[in-house]
């Protein structure tokens, strides 16, 4: 077998990305094809239907449901006002009238003579979608959103928390294996995307939030610190909607792990440029990894195909080991034998031979490496 499939994270110096920005429900697109947008430009907006309240008017008035239409003051589609009556009985000779008041502002949605329920809808809530990246609108999906094309660098992380944000890149460490200590954060990093090395601890992250840092990109973070940050143990990796001021993106994983050299040097070479980042991660079907997009509209694309195109694993491929032992080490594939081999755990698995960065050689399960795509 000349090559094998292995998952990898993209690290592209220069590529063209297409970002779709869609409304959750249909609405209005307010930019046009060809427009140049900035990350904070609103591209589409709509109104989410308001909350619905059900009031059993028939039972409140002690009537059979089929009598409901005769007592309704407001009809389906009518506006309603909180505290104002929506239904009233005729009473005896105009006296002893019983009324039901609306619990909210909005409109009366429907009246059911089967259940006696009246459905009230609160006013719609406006929502809008921004462009997230600086780029050009290349396609408009009528009433739904747009596609934005952006040329620049693109890096995927392995895990993140916190949503979309943007800021100027600031590298806070000298090398990819240096820890991002609390003392390295200062006020000049407000609204910046700070690049660290191998690890940020809880004190460091708190300091970053205090300084108003937009986002941190770092090799590793500890799980107990993640628990402190989220206020709970993260069960399933579906993130991005956390209400935290500073988005966190890990490039390597949990624990202290030097950021891959290629990732670090690419980020360092882009210091001072604006980056759009998103910590949203979904590790399940339709996997979503956190990302860093650095628009560079004037740069030249390399010749030929996009450098990030995915080939399989081959002899000579650069890989990173993603499980103990040697977790986090980088190496180059030296062999891809066909037959299964027995590991220390006695598992029989497909393996590959790797020459590690320190010159030593080892044999690993193929499942325990990932390709570093360039």
């Amino acid at each position: 077998m000349a090559h094998a499939y292995t998952p990898g994270l993209r690290v592209s110096e220069m590529t063209v990305l297409r970002k779709e920005r869609r409304l959750p429900i249909k609405g209005e697109v307010i930019v046009s094809k060809g427009d140049h947008v900035s990350s904070d430009t609103i591209v589409a907006r709509t109104h989410l239907p308001g909350n619905v309240q059900l009031v059993n008017v028939a039972s409140k008035l002690g009537l059979p449901p089929e009598d409901l239409p005769s007592v309704m003051i407001r009809k389906a589609g009518d506006p309603i006002e909180r505290g104002k009556p929506i239904a009233m009985t005729k009473g005896f000779f105009g006296l002893f009238k019983a009324t039901v008041n609306s619990p909210c502002d909005g409109t009366l949605d429907s009246i059911s003579t089967i259940t006696g329920q009246v459905i009230l809808r609160e006013p719609p809530m406006p929502i809008q979608v921004d462009a997230y990246v600086d780029g050009e609108v290349v396609e408009v999906f009528e009433n739904e959103g747009v596609a934005i094309e952006v040329k620049g660098s693109f890096i995927q992380g392995i895990f993140g928390v916190g949503g979309e944000t943007a800021g100027e890149i600031r590298v806070a460490v000298d090398s990819p294996d240096q820890k991002l200590e609390a003392s390295l954060f200062d006020k000049s990093m407000k609204n910046k995307v700070v690049i660290g090395g191998s690890h940020v601890d809880w004190a460091g992250f708190q300091q970053a939030m205090k300084m108003g840092v937009s986002g941190i990109v770092v090799g590793g973070f500890d799980d107990p610190d993640l628990k402190k940050l989220l206020g709970k143990d993260l069960g399933v990796a579906i993130t991005g909607s956390e209400d935290i001021a500073t988005t966190l993106i890990l490039t390597e994983g949990f624990g202290a792990m030097a950021m891959a050299g290629g990732t670090f040097s690419l980020l360092k070479s882009r210091e001072g440029k604006k980056a759009s980042i998103n910590g949203a991660t979904q590790i399940r079907a339709g996997v979503m990894r956190p990302e860093i997009v650095i628009p560079m509209p004037d740069a030249e694309l390399p010749d030929g195909q996009d450098a990030s195109s995915s080939a399989g694993l081959e002899i000579g491929s650069s890989i990173r080991i993603i499980r103990e032992p040697h977790f986090g080490s980088l190496g180059v594939v030296t062999e891809l034998p066909n037959e299964l081999r027995k590991m220390e755990s006695e598992s029989m698995v497909r393996v590959l031979g790797v020459k590690l960065a320190d010159g030593s050689e080892t044999v690993l399960p193929r499942a325990n490496v990932e390709m570093i795509e360039r």
Binding site: L54, P65, S110, G235, A237, R323, S345
Partner: protein
């Protein structure tokens, strides 16, 4: 199909959330046998985002290992030439794409809503939430929930036929007001199945026909005393194909390749489990522990139940096992000390890189500790769900009245359990079968006399879908190649102090050894008894212990063997691990040694 119309070669795949597994079955000397199995990572993830890549990779591995040519480029060669080229049937199951995620609704939580949940689970769905008129939530909270969850499908039930329509129509109003949108894609309406009171069909149509893709099937609880889950389950399968799978990356292509509809994996496993129980007239528990979910199937008193613990699994959901069980419960199974930080980080790293495998022995033991907790928690959930129909009047004897048995009591009786079947990577691929046996014993704590087996290479899903198309092939392969018998477990119920008498075993083993052992409390002992062998034994529990015949009553029976042997577990039921750290580690090591579970 080959030239003479005979099925000679079959390929079946199962696209799991982590791995895609392919098997090749061939007709050899008039009998269907498994030839080989291949696997590859499931490719729903970038850069591929196309499930068929993983299918082709797994099938290519089958080709490499078997020498049978199946593909011509990216096309299945149809039919087979009767030799080593081509296939006559290609089938697939799938749980990738997050499986089938449903919401169900019924009027009374413990009655029609529970029946609806059973129908959805039995069809292979993950039930995200159960709405009921009496679930304690206000309508606007229910509406919020529907909008927030964005299920793949909703099953609405409620009311017996001819009964009151008001409550089920109210539920319809809630769904209508939520105006639910499906999880995948914007371009289609959410499928809603109505399986409630037939008299409410017109009102439900008025409410939902325009906003959703509404379909109607027979009431799943036509009368209080009877469930009729078949039509709802079939409709769920149908809609799963038409609406849900069609939206997932690459599935349209895959659906074009298969000779029968793609089934949800757990639905297929359930089919094969029911077949075993019916054919042999036994009580069965089956478990499938996957990357994202753990499914448990049981057949007790002819009633099939399935539960899915949606967030208990060994890769995508591994971190949730830690969150739900707590670190102490996981670590109690680990026979060495490890800092909490290290364990937590390891588990999170497995979660974010779900396809990695344990290379070191230490890593393997941690993974198997987590598996015990995932299985234990999933079984707790199963026992509380696999219950008799609630709300049904029953005639009771005086003794039942005294034992306070009520409708809705769990059907799972560990003493009656005949066979426990494990499947899923961590059990099927455990480097030694003894490890699988230990994990299953520790997690399920079978009582009395129980046979243990594993699905050798995790092919129950493929055999389940095959059973619907070619029962002979499915049955033959299941009998001969699927289950690996681990042995029989003898575990007396009761507790005592370590070293006190617990069980006397008298038998003559097939190798000629005469056994006449008094086994004290707190031990695990294995006697050699190979696959295909059996032994007549007299088992006499000590006073206060029960093997099924009553406390202290002896039991004479035939015990069958397996790759592990005859396992005697006198650690007691209920089972407790020593709380003293040193003693706990010592015990775990001793029991593992007794089973020869790990390399020395």
């Amino acid at each position: 199909m080959s030239e003479n119309g005979k099925i000679r070669a079959i390929v079946a795949t199962d696209c799991g959330s982590t791995t895609t597994k392919a098997i090749l079955i061939k007709l050899v000397d008039g009998e269907y046998r498994l030839v080989v199995r291949g696997e590859a990572p499931t490719t729903v993830e970038a850069p591929f985002e196309d499930v068929t890549r993983g299918v082709l990779n797994a099938v290519r591995e089958v080709e490499e290992l078997s020498g049978h040519t199946i593909l011509d480029g990216e096309t299945f060669i149809h039919p087979s030439d009767g030799g080593d080229r081509g296939v006559d049937l290609y089938l697939s199951t799938s749980s990738a794409g997050g499986g089938l995620q449903m919401m169900v609704a019924g009027v009374v939580k413990s009655m029609t809503a529970e029946s609806a949940e059973r129908a959805a689970l039995g069809a292979g769905a993950i039930v995200m939430d159960v709405l009921a008129s009496n679930d304690g939530r206000l309508p606007h909270e229910q509406i919020e929930r529907i909008r927030h969850l964005r299920p793949d499908m909703i099953l609405l039930s409620g009311g017996i036929d001819g009964g009151t329509v008001t409550h089920v129509v109210e539920l319809g109003q809630v769904i209508s007001a939520a105006d639910p949108k499906p999880r995948l894609g914007m371009g289609y309406n959410l499928p809603v199945i109505f399986a409630g009171n037939v008299d409410a069909r017109d009102e439900v149509t008025d409410l939902l026909a325009e906003k959703t893709a509404l379909s109607m099937v027979d009431n799943l609880r036509p009368v209080l005393e009877r469930e009729n889950l078949g039509p709802a389950r079939e409709e769920i399968h149908e809609l799963f194909m038409e609406h849900v799978m069609a939206q997932a990356p690459g599935y349209n292509k895959l659906m074009g390749w298969t000779d029968a509809p793609i089934m949800p994996t757990p639905g297929a496993v359930g089919l094969i489990m029911q077949t075993i129980a019916e054919q042999r007239g036994i009580e069965v528990v089956g478990v499938d522990i996957g990357g994202a979910t753990t499914d448990i199937f049981s057949v007790f008193q002819h009633t099939f139940n399935r539960t899915v613990s949606a967030n208990l699994g060994m890769s995508y959901s591994v971190s949730n096992v830690l969150a739900e069980a707590g670190i102490d419960n996981v670590m109690r199974w680990v026979p060495f000390k490890l800092p909490e930080l290290s364990v937590r980080n390891r588990i999170k790293n497995k979660m974010i890189r779900p396809t990695t495998v344990p290379q070191s022995l230490e890593d393997l033991k941690i993974e198997q500790a987590i598996a015990r907790e995932a299985l234990r928690l999933a079984f707790v959930q199963h026992k509380s769900f696999a219950v008799g129909l609630k709300g049904v009047q029953q005639e009771r004897t005086i003794s039942e009245a005294f034992s306070q048995s009520a409708s809705g009591e769990t059907l799972v009786n560990m003493m009656d359990l005949d066979i426990l079947v494990g499947s899923g990577g961590v059990l099927s691929h455990a480097p030694r079968r003894q490890q699988a046996a230990l994990m299953m014993i520790d997690a399920f704590l079978p009582a009395g006399i129980t046979q243990l087996a594993v699905d050798s290479i995790f092919m129950m899903p493929q055999l389940g879908v095959l059973a619907g198309v070619h029962e002979k092939a499915a049955t033959e392969v299941f009998e001969k190649d699927c289950l690996i018998y681990l042995g029989t477990l003898v575990s007396p119920v009761g507790i005592s102090q370590e070293g006190k008498p617990c069980l006397k075993v008298e038998a003559r083993l097939p190798n000629g050894t005469v056994v006449n052992d008094d086994i004290p409390f707190g031990e695990m002992i294995v006697y050699p008894l190979a696959i295909g062998e059996s032994v007549n034994a007299k088992l006499t529990p000590a006073k206060g212990f029960n093997l099924g015949a009553g406390a202290g009553k002896p039991l004479e029976c035939t015990l069958t063997g397996g790759v592990v042997g005859l396992i005697v577990d006198t650690r007691g039921r209920p089972f407790e691990l020593p709380t003293d750290e040193h003693k706990r580690v010592q015990k775990l090591e001793k029991w593992a040694r007794a089973l020869d579970a790990y390399p020395a």
